[in-house]
């Protein structure tokens, strides 16, 4: 009975925390703007087949009668050299970018965080040395170069691009969580859990991890933007998504051949990339301020 009431108290306190964070978040117009932008883009991306004006333009489709049309009321963002509607392809491109960001984060966050927790908790042991030195080696190369290198030895494609970005990006989570975990290691609540005989997994994933959640969330919302940016860079040089897939990076690359006369082919996809990254940046900054987390 008592246990129940204390649990309820803990739950209501959690709600109170969330409510306060949301209040702080909603006080900043820029954060709200970021949230709105991301929500709109997500909606358009998820329902791309239904909301886009010419869904058939998303992949292999040729209509030379309508090729290279400038923006008009029929084609809001114009058409490319194959007569495909740019706006439709942007919607589908956003879909790809968001999927890429989400997949990469889903791949690396669990791995990076788990490694950081283990290394931080066993600070000073051989586990710490091995994990953190490997992390250092991965960080010793600029992420884009590492991603390009991994991509180039594999066959080009969206899946391999995601794999390449993941290889380049996981160490940052490990390093961040390591810093927090190793400083929490000596705290009383961890010692109390150890004394009462809690299991290692309980200490690592319940006691320590719950204190890393705010910085991890902050970093994730900022990283969505960066991952999408790197993905666009990979596609730009032809190592990412392959034609006829609608992908923002490769659309900019293809369109840049027809500059400056047919500017709309590359300019609108470029704007789309900027808008997505801006949205996640504003959102991430807002989350950071609201959760009071340090810059990750």
């Amino acid at each position: 009975m008592q246990k129940d009431s204390s649990r309820q108290e803990g739950l209501s306190r959690k709600w109170e925390d969330i409510r306060r964070s949301w209040y702080k978040f909603s006080r900043n117009p820029l954060s709200i703007m970021g949230l709105v932008v991301i929500c709109i883009i997500m909606f358009l991306a998820i329902f791309a087949p239904f909301v886009s004006p010419y869904p058939e333009s998303a992949s292999k489709f040729i209509n030379f009668y309508e090729a290279s049309q400038p923006p008009s009321s029929t084609y809001l963002c114009g058409t490319d050299v194959f007569g495909r509607d740019i706006l439709t392809r942007i919607f589908f491109g956003c879909r790809f970018s968001l999927m890429m960001g989400a997949t990469v984060l889903a791949l690396i966050v669990p791995v990076g965080v788990a490694l950081g927790l283990i290394a931080g908790y066993y600070r000073g042991s051989w586990l710490d040395t091995v994990i953190m030195r490997i992390t250092d080696i991965f960080i010793a190369l600029p992420p884009l170069i590492l991603a390009l290198a991994v991509c180039s030895v594999l066959t080009p494609g969206i899946f391999h691009a995601m794999l390449a970005i993941s290889v380049a990006w996981w160490p940052w989570y490990t390093r961040m969580v390591y810093g927090i975990a190793s400083s929490l290691k000596g705290e009383f609540f961890v010692q109390a859990a150890e004394v009462t005989g809690a299991s290692r997994t309980h200490i690592l994933f319940r006691e320590i991890l719950s204190n890393c959640v705010a910085p991890i969330f902050t970093k994730m919302s900022l990283d969505m933007g960066w991952v999408i940016l790197i993905g666009a860079s990979l596609s730009f040089v032809g190592l990412g998504a392959q034609p006829p897939t609608a992908d923002l990076g490769s659309m900019v690359a293809d369109g840049s051949k027809y500059l400056p006369d047919q500017w709309w082919i590359s300019v609108f996809p470029a704007f789309a990339i900027m808008l997505i990254v801006l949205g996640f940046n504003l959102l991430g900054d807002g989350v950071r301020d609201a959760l009071g987390a340090e810059r990750g």
């Binding site: 030195r133 490997i134 250092d136 080696i137 991965f138 010793a140 190369l141 600029p142 992420p143 884009l144 170069i145 390009l148 290198a149 991994v150 991509c151 180039s152 030895v153 594999l154 933007g225 940016l229 666009a232 860079s233 730009f236 040089v237 032809g238 190592l239 990076g249 900019v252 690359a253 840049s256 500059l259 400056p260 500017w263 590359s266 470029a270 990339i273 900027m274 990254v277 801006l278 940046n281 504003l282």
Partner: protein, 342 residues
């Protein structure tokens, strides 16, 4: 003495990281499906020739033995032949690296100076229209991919205004300065070829700025944030109460501690600069190592690729050492902390 110990420790650590990096790159290069020997000789080469090359390249031996042969040659400066240029990779690196270094140096200096200046102005005039303008511009700078900047600059300055060249290092008619350091602007200055100097500078401007825009905005934001943070500290209030002029407070007391986060993130920003150079050099047809590396990657030229990545890893490690020293200079806590933990 302390500083020397600090540097020695840092250097020893860098050597370790570099060895690790070479293993990582080697593994990545060997992951590739297909036969390097077959690729080197072409599809029509007879089977016995391929087999002989496999022997020569030690491809039949276990992975650690392959690594041993590879790193032994690499330490002697021999990275094998490039499959694309059909020349020794070491020779290619010597030829293309200075151009990349030159570009990265100009972009890096531009990024530091402009980023810190903008950040300082923005932080000093916090919450005024100047601050808001700088913050808005830096947001745009951060979210725009460098290749978009590059394309935009090529269009605006190269085609519309026609004031800057958009391709290569020098205008074809201009006599190139003699090769001393191989860094064109420096060679031109040393030998007094001023036409070549200004021409090279003009060619550098657009690629360097498109490279610097993103990281520069990051620097400005960090500087602003840390300046705004420090202005609220007690020591600034006490300096003000003593009647010390605002300029003195800013330049003598406030700027130095406020630059610590900016300088520590400089290494990270330089990383994105080096990475983006792979795209920018391709767009501007800049005859540098990044473009060479990018072409090697696109054509699966493994020898050239591994060597180029290793070179960039080395550059990045050196930049990080410099950054660490600079942070140590700005922040005595780090220098002394490093001493205390020993």
């Amino acid at each position: 003495m302390r500083t020397i110990k600090f540097i020695a420790k840092r250097l020893a650590y860098s050597v370790f990281v570099l060895i690790g990096l070479s293993i990582l790159i080697f593994i990545i290069a060997r992951v590739m499906p297909g036969h390097p020997a077959r690729m080197a000789l072409g599809a029509r080469a007879p089977e016995w020739a391929v087999e002989r090359l496999r022997e020569e390249m030690h491809l039949n031996e276990p992975l650690y033995a392959q690594y041993y042969y590879w790193i032994k040659d690499a330490l002697h400066g021999d990275f094998g032949m490039s499959l694309v240029t059909r020349r020794s990779v070491a020779h290619d690196i010597k030829e293309f690296f200075p151009a990349s270094l030159e570009l990265a140096l100009y972009a890096g200096i531009f990024m530091g100076i402009v980023g810190i200046t903008l950040g300082a102005i923005s932080g000093w005039y916090a919450n005024t229209w100047v601050d808001n303008l700088v913050r808005m511009l830096s947001y745009i700078g951060i979210v725009t991919p460098s290749f978009v900047f590059a394309i935009f600059f090529v269009l605006l300055f190269g085609y519309v205004l026609e004031i800057f060249p958009t391709i290569g290092k020098l205008t074809p008619g201009v006599v190139p300065p003699p090769l001393i350091t191989r860094i064109t602007t420096l060679d031109a200055l040393i030998t007094g070829h001023f036409t070549a100097f200004f021409d090279a500078l003009k060619h550098l401007l657009l690629p360097a700025i498109s490279l610097a825009m993103g990281p520069l905005s990051q620097e400005a934001r960090i500087t602003r944030a840390s300046l705004v943070d420090n202005v609220q500290k007690d020591y600034v209030a006490s300096e003000r109460s003593c009647g010390i002029p605002e300029q003195t407070i800013m330049f003598k007391y406030l700027l130095k501690p406020s630059l610590i986060p900016t300088v520590s993130i400089y290494g990270l920003d330089f990383a994105s600069l080096l990475g983006n150079a792979f795209l920018i050099e391709l767009i501007f047809n800049w005859p540098g190592l990044s473009r060479y590396g990018m072409n090697a990657m696109l054509q699966k030229d493994l020898n050239a690729m591994t060597a180029v990545i290793l070179v960039f890893g080395l550059v990045f490690i050196i930049v990080n050492i410099i950054v660490d020293l600079a942070v140590g200079y700005l922040d005595p806590r780090i220098r002394l902390g490093a001493e205390r933990t020993q």
